[in-house]
């Protein structure tokens, strides 16, 4: 009798042997023919190459019986149809699992794609509102990315949140001023708005310690805001000039006080500006000391480093000026006037940011 060898047909080759179950039927016929030296059936020819490609793991039962014989295929089919069936079932199961995995993967891809679209929309919205979106994503920037400095990366993130909170407060002020609210409620809004600006100065001070050039450059602000840049921010006297016509009726004393404040601001700003000029001259002198062209300049660079520390104190002093201007306006004005002033100031900045955004996208508009 034929040896009980089991030759399993690998799944991928099932297609060729589609009517495999027919071998079971034919197995009987072949067996009969073998003994009679009957002619080889076509399926035998097809089977021969298959025998050579058998998966080794399926041959565990064959080794003791020597090399597989082509007739053994039919023999095993006829003797172990259930083994074939089981293997087929396993293959079907494996194929099913593979399809499920692929489906899951595609679903994951779809979800990620949707999330990406969402993020892009958020970015666009933020840009429209005039936020400066750093981290090198903003194509309208000069490719300026300070994210290598953790202090600056933290500041940029905090500033993004600061702007969000600022916009919220401006909306609240607008609502509150159009309604009928008590002075107490108004006062708390004013206090919050003031505290919010003071918070910005605190953030800037920390950022200046991390990288004073970054704060001085105003790259964390939008382009139109940067146009008005003076030592890391706005000139307080300029802002007073912009806001003065927008206050409610003021008493003569108030008008006088605000004008005096504006003049004091201007004088203080001039003094700081001249101090900055002196710093520039001394720095330039320091860097250029010794023979320019000699090629070694480490001592000059080192001494210039010491000079640059003074820049931090100028940024801090300029913010101190902005802080004091806010305080004085708060002192001079009534609560309602202060609320209106803060609203006007906030919206002025919003308009500048919107201008920056419009300017940045002007070339994209079809004309």
């Amino acid at each position: 009798m034929n040896s009980a060898s089991t030759h399993f047909v690998p799944t991928s080759r099932v297609g060729i042997y589609e009517p495999l179950h027919q071998f079971g039927m034919w197995g009987e016929t072949f067996k009969n023919n073998i003994g009679n030296g009957g002619s080889m059936n076509t399926p035998n020819h097809i089977l021969i190459p298959n025998n050579q490609k058998l998966d080794n793991t399926n041959l565990s039962e064959d080794t003791s019986h020597g090399t597989p014989h082509m007739f053994d295929q039919e023999a095993s089919t006829s003797r172990h149809p259930d083994k074939i069936q089981r293997r087929l079932a396993q293959n079907r199961e494996a194929a099913r699992k593979s399809r499920l995995r692929k489906k899951a993967y595609v679903q994951q891809l779809e979800t990620s794609r949707l999330k990406l679209i969402q993020l892009e929309q958020e970015l666009d919205r933020a840009r429209q509102q005039g936020f400066y979106v750093g981290n090198g994503i903003d194509t309208s920037s000069l490719g300026f990315s300070e994210t290598m400095n953790p202090g600056i990366a933290a500041f940029e993130m905090e500033y993004g949140h600061w702007i969000e909170e600022q916009n919220k407060q401006i909306c609240e002020l607008r609502t509150v001023l159009h309604g009928h609210v008590t002075d107490v409620e108004l006062r708390s809004q004013v206090e919050n708005a003031m505290k919010h600006y003071f918070e910005l100065f605190r953030m800037k001070s920390a950022a200046a310690k991390a990288d004073v050039f970054f704060v001085m450059s105003g790259m964390w602000r939008t382009s139109a805001e940067r146009f008005f840049l003076w030592i890391g921010g706005f000139r307080p006297s300029d802002l007073l000039k912009v806001l003065l016509p927008h206050f409610d009726v003021m008493t003569d004393q108030q008008v006088l006080d605000v004008c005096n404040l504006r003049q004091s601001c201007q004088q203080a700003e001039d003094a700081l500006s001249q101090g900055m000029e002196k710093l520039q001259h001394t720095l330039a002198e320091c860097v250029a000391r010794g023979g320019l062209g000699e090629g070694n300049y480490i001592p000059q660079v080192n001494s210039a480093m010491e000079r640059l520390e003074a820049l931090v104190s100028f940024v801090n002093q300029a913010d101190h000026l902005r802080h004091e201007t806010l305080q004085q306006m708060h002192r001079i004005l009534t609560t309602r006037q202060a609320a209106r002033g803060l609203l006007a100031l906030g919206e002025y900045f919003q308009r500048l940011r919107a201008l920056s955004s419009s300017w940045a996208t002007r070339h994209r508009e079809p004309t």
Partner: protein, 102 residues
Amino acid sequence: MDKVVRMSSEKGVVIFSKSSCCMSYAVQVLFQDLGVHPTVHEIDKDPDCREIEKALMRLGCSTPVPAVFVGGKLVGSTNEVMSMHLSGSLVPLVKPFQANLC
């Protein structure tokens, strides 16, 4: 420190400064804008620079320079001077010492 007391008690506006300090220069410019000619002591040119610095700090200055005295009394450093000016209290303080420009 006697030297500091003597120097700070000089008439008018006295500013302790350093030749390299640009913030001290800014404060000086501010007083000049207000019509005052402050007396400026550049302590880095003084042999007793270290002691003067310590004395100024002990008197309550956050930084040794600039340290501003008006009429012998300590006003403070840049912060104090700027705050006073914006609140309108600096001009009355230095009024007696303003040079008559006409």
